[in-house]
Symmetry: C2
Subunit: 211 residues, 2 copies
């Protein structure tokens, strides 16, 4: 019997087929059997790639997450601070069809993750990574004097929760989550960050009056 | 054959059993057959109450939403403006076990809603209702001069998306979404609303310098 070789491009094809099934019919209808059939594989031929539905969902989510991170890294380049934060957020925000589909995979994945410990570890680590990236870019922004001291860790939670809420809202109320509204909320949050403390002359009313 | 009477308390029992199944095993494992069995009903006895899984999920979500709104109305009483907004948000935020379970039903419901038009209409109308309540309390706050003119509709989106993001985050990263952190984010957003314009003397540097 020939050894079955798990080729990366076949694995990616199966993940793509899984995405399509989630988008078209929802998580409930995803089974290894249906993915095999839709990909033109014999039933059982998925086993070298994915032993269980959990494996398949982990791969589907991980590919969506990896795509997001790869786009963000390319967009950020050597930038840091607020501009890097903005570009990171843009890649997570469902601003175009590609990112809307990633958001759809995320909705399915949260549902699966809560019910399945072998999935929840992946979900938890990607969310934690993402929160850490937000915090790092805010630290850079402070070091660059783009913003003032930020003694409020709530900003990281706030940005994270907005972006996670958008993943479902873009599917539940698409007409209320257009590109402009998504960007307006991000810019509003960035505008509420504390201004950098300048070392310029004191321009308080008292100081000015006493001149 | 005796006519089957759909008694409200039985219906509520079935919805409660559905909640328990979602919390314990996830949406995937909810079937009319399993709900009937867990509730001690004969298979098929659910039909007078719920003809399909979609009906059951609509009822499960609607009951969670109705509980949230009832608690908010009781908590708000005759209050209006920012304090009413705060109390509305508190009832949606997963701050205790009851509201965490409602959040779990919401996660399952988003997944189901995106895949099923008979569910998505309910999802859409509850989200729209909720956004309208946020906007109304902000209007009250402006009328009460608690805040200044708010020409930025992004605030409503921002609050909504934060609360919706929290529904999944409290289950995906529970240790990162404690009560204090949830409240800190809400208070941060409220603190960034524009201050009321006072009718007091002009204290701009120019005015003070010219005195």
């Amino acid at each position: 019997m020939p050894k079955v070789v798990a080729r990366p491009e076949r694995r990616e094809l199966l993940v793509r087929v899984t995405w399509d099934l989630i988008v078209a019919e929802g998580l409930d209808r995803v089974t290894l059997r249906r993915v095999a059939s839709a990909a033109g594989f014999a039933n059982g031929a998925l086993k070298p790639y994915f032993a269980t539905k959990s494996d398949l969902l982990n791969a589907a989510y991980t590919m969506a997450f990896d795509h997001t991170i790869a786009r963000a890294e390319q967009s950020i380049g050597t930038r840091s601070g607020l501009e890097a934060l903005r570009r990171l957020c843009w890649e997570v925000m469902p601003l175009d069809e590609e990112r809307r589909i990633e958001a759809r995979v995320v909705i399915a994945f949260w549902e699966a993750a809560v019910a399945d410990p072998s999935i929840s570890a992946v979900a938890r680590s990607t969310v934690t990574d993402f929160a850490r990236s937000i915090a790092r870019h805010l630290d850079e922004a402070r070091a660059l004097q783009e913003i003032g001291p930020l003694d409020d860790p709530a900003v990281v939670d706030e940005i994270l929760w907005i972006l996670m809420g958008l993943q479902s809202m873009v599917w539940v109320v698409p007409e209320e989550t257009g590109t402009q509204r998504q960007c307006a909320v991000l810019e509003r949050v960035l505008a509420t960050l504390p201004p950098a403390q300048t070392l310029a002359a004191d321009v308080s009313p008292e100081a000015v009056a006493g001149r």
